[in-house]
Amino acid sequence: MTNLTMVKAINAGLRKAMEHDPKVILFGEDIGRLGGVFRVTDNLQKDFGTHRVMDAPLAESGIVGTAVGLAMRGYRPVLEIQFDGFVYPSFNQIVSQVAKFHRRMAGAVMMPITIRIPYGGGIGAVEHHSESPEAYFAHTAGLRVLTPSDPQAAYLTIQQAIACNDPVIYFEPKRRYWDKGEVDESVSALDVGSVADPWRARVVRTGSDVTVACYGPTVRTCLEAAQASPDISIEVVDLQSLSPIDFDTLVSSIERTGRLVIVHEASMSGGVGAEIAARISEKCFYTLEAPVIRVTGFDVPYPASRLEEYFLPDLDRVLDAAERAMRY
């Protein structure tokens, strides 16, 4: 086991994936000599060459659009979008082309493209650098959406995302980039059966009163809330995959607790939490002892950084929601 930051864990996962499959190529802005603005691809160009770690011209639609052609030619592109708010110029290529190509060609063509996007707030950044756009992609048929919450999960799921023959939008929680954790680098995620299914949710803390479902950056927040909760026993479920969502794990948790609080940074309306609440109200109608409660960012553009602490779900807001759930 090695103690790694999430940045280093993803870097190690990318390295494993590139060693495993020569068709894996990395493509993005400033990912070569600079190693990416967050250094996630540090040293990979030096070790694998400029033909496998390619600095892209500054054009996100170009990065994703050319990746479609590279995939048709048999490559397995792993793309980096520098920041969440810069994915939109490529939205057309992702939604209309990447997501639909396999279906359009009746399965004759696969789109094994991974699109890595650092996302979320909490780092005091300027506009367009703190957004959580996952709902757009979770809503789009044909895309899979993954988001790790700790270094070990990041190390494994980035390899699984790359190995997946479907396109995967891989959201990296940037305010957890520098969190450290134990990573078992001896395991390759490509040894089928030896590691957890990336599309399954993970119960990261057991509890008996309230299930808190979260993902990416808010998993740590919810774990801290559960730890700080004096009276209410909170079970924390890290969804990890937002498309598909693992409802089996979630339902069995709610069958134990009877209550669900959903936490995400993205705005509430039309968010991932809305989909979960609707499905759970159907699947757990006779089990629920309280309405499903959401703790999310507000329905406003991400605020100027000095206000982000009020926008982001924090420990107090999670506990407040758990208490409200208990009052029913």
């Binding site: 400033d30 000599r33 600079l34 603005v37 170009g62 110029p89 100027a304 206000l307």
Partner: protein, 364 residues
């Protein structure tokens, strides 16, 4: 033309003032400025550099979240923006502090955004200056659309849209060129080629000189020594006049250099050589104008000292002003999301206010 610059970089940019401060002539471009106008341009550059240095220092001290320095690009920004008429409209990016300064935006209005107390900071309509655009290239299309509006109004204003060499790769910028040409819009495309898009050199975005791209879109392109404020102003005035008189767009490539990091988060030692910076230090835009003003007897030591003093005072005002900026009321994040009442926003605002008040109660 400056032989040394050409020998190093193999370019033929319009130049009226050499790096050594020698006034030279050009067959197509010239400019005549009064002594006070020349002094004003010098003052602008010195003060903008002072703002820039102060902001970088404030970021290092934790007072600003980020800063994108314009160090070295003062002549390109101020020379072009000071060429504009009052009713012309500038569309800047996040690095154009010399442009915003020239449009009358105050340093604290610029720095409030980077301190994270506001997303905007000024009224673009009143100031004839758009917001700092952070998404690369987006504002270039806005500039063309604004120019189309000028045209529809039958007015004689011009839109000037700023961007960098990196933006030349963006679809939005190339579409902006297509639209401007199709409508013969009164717009000036002002590209500061500062040689680096974060870690990527210019030739990764454009395999030919940037100004040459204009020909393919059907309008003229011109390359100017971006560290020569006289040449920048002369070239911009011609492009503005061309647009104003219904002759359509021009692409100006101001050949310059990003002396600082991309932003205070960046570490350029990872991707470029220190020698390059030394080469460009010899082409400093402020120094060459200073030499020219002194040699011509347009300004003397007391003038330079006075500008220096003005810079000191401005820096002090900035330090105090930034430190005095407090975070706005949390409920203000719900302001201006819509221009008309919106039930969901009103509901969430009340929820946040009530939630925050619950802490007040428990404390009191």
């Amino acid at each position: 033309m400056d032989e040394r610059m050409n020998r190093i970089d193999g370019i033929h940019a319009v130049q009226l003032l050499t790096p050594e401060g020698q006034r030279v002539s050009h067959p197509d471009y010239d400019i005549t400025l009064s002594d006070s106008e020349l002094q004003g341009l010098y003052r602008d550059m010195v003060l903008v550099r002072r703002i820039d240095n102060e902001a970088t220092a404030l970021q290092r001290q934790g007072e600003l979240g980020l800063w994108a320095p314009c160090l070295g690009q003062e002549a390109a920004q101020i020379g072009s923006a000071r060429a504009m008429a009052p009713n012309d409209f500038a569309f800047p990016t996040f690095r154009e502090h010399g442009v915003t300064w020239s449009r009358g935006i105050t340093p604290l209005e610029m720095l409030g955004i980077l301190r994270g107390v506001t997303s905007g900071g000024w009224d673009p309509q009143a100031r004839k200056c758009g917001p700092y655009s952070i998404v690369i290239g987006a504002q270039v299309l806005h500039g063309v659309g604004y120019a189309m509006g000028i045209q529809l109004d039958g007015a004689e204003d011009v839109a000037v849209t700023y961007f960098g060499d990196g933006a030349m790769a963006q679809g939005d910028v190339n579409e902006a060129f297509v639209f401007a040409a199709a409508f013969s819009a009164p717009v000036v495309f002002f590209c500061q080629n500062n040689q680096w898009a974060i870690s990527q050199p210019r030739d990764h975005q454009s395999n030919v000189q940037i100004y040459e791209r204009a020909a393919g879109f059907g309008f003229p392109g011109v390359q100017v020594d971006g560290n020569d404020i006289l040449a920048v102003m002369a070239v911009t005035k011609v492009a503005l006049e061309r647009a104003r008189t219904g002759n359509g767009p021009t692409l100006i490539e101001a050949y310059t250099y990003r002396m600082g990091a991309h932003t205070t988060s960046d570490d350029p030692t990872r991707y470029r050589l220190a020698g390059e910076i030394e080469t460009w230090r010899l082409r400093d835009p402020i120094e060459r104008l200073k030499v020219y003003l002194a040699r011509q007897g347009i300004a003397d030591r007391s003038f330079f000292d006075q500008i220096e003093k003005e810079g000191d005072d401005l820096a002090e005002q900035i330090r105090q002003g930034v430190r005095a900026m407090v975070p706005p009321d949390p409920a203000s994040m719900f302001d201006h999301v819509y221009s008309q009442p919106h039930a969901r926003i009103d509901e969430q605002r009340s929820e946040l206010v009530e939630y925050l008040a619950s802490f007040q109660d428990s404390v009191g």
